[in-house]
Symmetry: C2
């Protein structure tokens, strides 16, 4: 194997996940000394080296970025910037930005590698998905860049790598089922705990919001779209040509009457009027000795993908989940009646960044 | 990235795991057309191509191997054979053979990559471990071969890759705990189930033996050494310099009086005389509302490694395990109070082979 050559890293997004990623990268760079940080950007600021013999500083990048008066580069301009680098490049997109996601295929076609937790590119139209993976490196397209997106499902949990291994080694994935949202996990583990009563639905949503577990407008979690996006990604990796998040049933937990209410605060005020709906579901579950959870599932043979409420026996691993943990079960031919299960925190800046950094390591290893 | 060049694969061990591996490799080779199978061996037979422009056949290797009159090659002779290959090589060791394990460092020093489920090389002396990893590829030693051994712990479950990711991305692994033996899992899930009574200890051992879940002499499972070997591997990956399986407490479930009894059959006959010992443990656990399980644990900060019986609350994931599943929990600084958990079948030819094939894919990807 040849000796490592310099690799140039451009980081788009330096907020929650991005800041943790840069911290992890600074630790990593002590072992991977051939890594140069050349660009960091966030929504309103951009910082980059003009000369690729220089690198940005891991210790002062945050102040340097704040003080920067360099122009903000569009994805296209970042490509034009990076093609001048005297070696291989990796773009790390820590945003959830659609425009950046839309440019992955262009990055990859230029041989620029892409690492990201951004779900948008992989859960958009099937055409966009095909575009990305036909631009990416393969035996037929050796000039393409590599693309890794472990943290787009389950944050740092090894979900995507495991599914890829199952498929690539010839196992038959029959069903994937799980709790894919830290917010939904937290809400239901408290609303309908295995032991005890749990609070009223609107109160649990408020608690989750106050604890920072929801988006500013909790409807952005309750509509189920975040979970649906993750299922699109997994279903495609399992071989299903899912067109988009609208091609299968996604149950929204937003009462119809509150869909068009303006603003998260207004929504929260009115939510308690509808507590009866969720209370009914909970007591029906209790009547059967079960609990209700918000899950996603993919039945590969039946091409059936769905997101919504389901009831589980109290001894089921999905019922026994704690905190805001995710759990994902892979039922496959090889694993038989007991699935391969992966469980743990599926949200949060630090564990999401870990998945991104882990992906970067894999890319760096494949470039040496 | 350069276009893929031919890669030559030598497979040592073509029994249970080996046969499944070769089947998976034949599927894989439709996507990785640059892979040539050049050598297959089992204890008493060896089959290899004399000219590296030829390859062995995936459809007839088994008959060809039976009919082969080629000499059996020692590991040293396999090295001498492979250094003549006109490209990169991978040795896949599907045995649990000590002699083959002892030769990994020699393979790696010649730039030959090693992929294996064989625990022996990684759980022997710390010096042997250091020897392997100083011979392996690194930034300082770019001429060394790569070494992957996912299936040495938990078969195809992503245990080793996950631990490596946690460590390499800078997480602090605090504790690792779990059920690491399919045999022990099966025994205790039946002997002391969460619901119900379970059978007598000696009866459960007999059932497990009859179902093929134990070694021919069940003492080879009951002595705890298999679990201890896996803990040595994980502890070392977590940064502890564990000298060997004898440097920490390993509880054997073989009654002292039966340690020197000759032969597995004799042992089985006499085991029921000692059912009282295990019954006592079970009823003590029940008295506390718990169940007993055979687990391994590593406390990284305290450098404390141990293998043996422990009691668990009935709601604990380790208590709720089913069949012969493994479960491994990683408690880390990032994951906080809820560990990252991986669970599923941790033994069996097909899932073990999957871990090996997955490793081979990673090696192939790093060679393109």
């Amino acid at each position: 194997m040849a000796k490592s050559k310099q690799v140039y890293i451009a980081v788009i997004g330096a907020g929650g996940v991005g800041r943790h990623f840069l911290h992890q990268l600074s630790i990593l760079s002590t072992n991977y000394s051939h890594v140069s940080l050349v660009l960091v950007s966030r929504s309103s600021k951009c910082l980059f080296v003009e000369d690729f013999h220089h690198t940005l500083s891991f210790s002062t990048w945050e102040n340097d970025l704040s003080a920067s008066s360099q122009p903000i580069l569009s994805p296209q301009e970042i490509i034009e910037y990076l093609v001048n680098a005297p070696g291989k490049c990796v773009v790390v997109d820590n945003t959830s930005n659609q425009t950046v996601a839309d440019s992955y295929a262009s990055f990859l076609r230029q041989g620029i590698n892409v690492v990201t937790p951004n779900k948008k590119a992989f859960s958009g139209s099937y055409e966009a998905w095909r575009d990305i993976f036909s631009a990416a490196y393969s035996a037929k397209n050796p000039a393409g860049g590599l693309v890794y997106h472990e943290s787009s499902v389950g944050a740092g949990l090894p979900i995507i790598s495991t599914l890829k291994d199952l498929v690539e080694t010839g196992d038959e994935v029959q069903r994937i089922e799980g709790v894919f949202s830290g917010t939904m996990s937290f809400l239901f583990n408290n609303f309908a705990p295995v032991e005890g009563k749990g609070g009223k639905w609107s109160e649990e949503v408020k608690k989750a919001k106050d604890a920072g577990y929801t988006e500013p407008d909790p409807r952005d979690d309750l509509n189920g779209i975040d979970v649906a996006r993750k299922l699109v990604i997994l279903a495609r990796l399992a071989g299903l040509e899912v067109e988009s998040t609208s091609s299968f049933p996604v149950q929204s937990l937003i009462p119809k009457e509150l869909e068009s209410v303006k603003g998260g605060e207004k929504f929260m005020e009115k939510l308690s009027d509808f507590d009866g709906q969720m209370e009914k579901v909970k007591s029906e579950a209790e009547g059967e000795g079960k609990v209700v959870r918000f899950v996603g599932s993919i039945d590969v043979a039946r091409k059936d993908v769905r997101v919504g409420l389901e009831l589980f026996e109290k001894g089921h691993p999905i019922a026994a989940l704690k905190g805001s943990d995710n759990i994902i079960s892979f039922y496959t031919k090889r694993y038989g009646s007991n699935p391969l299960i992966i469980q743990g925190a599926g949200a949060g800046g630090e564990v999401t960044a870990m998945g991104v950094t882990g992906d970067l390591i894999k890319v760096l290893q494949r470039m040496t």
